[in-house]
Amino acid sequence: MFKEFVEKKRYSFHEGFDDWRDAIKAACAPLIADGTCEQLYVNEIIKKVEELGPYIVIAPNICIPHAQEGLGVHDTAICFMKTEKPVHFDPNDPEKDARLFFVLASVNNAVHMENLMAMSEACSNEDFVAKLLEVKTPEELATMDKVREEMGD
């Protein structure tokens, strides 16, 4: 998964964002650039969070921006972004801060489920998440599949 992020140029590294909306836009930028999705999909992700709250922050530091299947989406993909400073989704709840973003786009549920499973299995290990938070370059990012493998459960 991580090697694929680098090979397909579906990743970005940033210092931080004052507004979570800008963070989501930046996280989605590689998918717009390669035609995986349209701006419409990004707007939809933001709209849903405004409507329902930061439900896309699924664990401390981990956020999975996504919206409905097919809406402005042309391919099934997952795209990575890391920020050095935490992005605040709820000013009153530091548990809703995120630094690792996995944008999900789907037109094919089987492939989407594989992506989702790989991502959630990898990030269920807190020691691995700690290591991922240390990654600063695409070269390091590409080695993370191996790092995860060597860690076991």
């Binding site: 849903k48 409507e51 699924i58 999975i64 989702l116 959630s120």
Partner: protein, 97 residues
Amino acid sequence: MAKLKVIAACGSGMGSSQIIKMKLEKVFKKLGLDAEIYHTNVGDAKSQANNYDVVFCSESLVSTFGKTTATVIGLKNLLSEQEMTTKVQEKIIDANK
């Protein structure tokens, strides 16, 4: 205990709800609970909640459910099997004793 009817809900029905479903299947198996789990978006979950025993969703979505006969369980960390196990034990197993 009879077979549990469970909804895993999230904003769109395609991200976190599927993660919840995946993790719940593991937790239920470990605890020896028989359950069918349906994943969907909050709007659909809300309209169907009364036909189910339990709804699992992200903590930030709990308030959208309002009054329902189902037990609504909010999760802080969707990737933590430990949190899920504790909540299933407390709110489903112990509550039905």
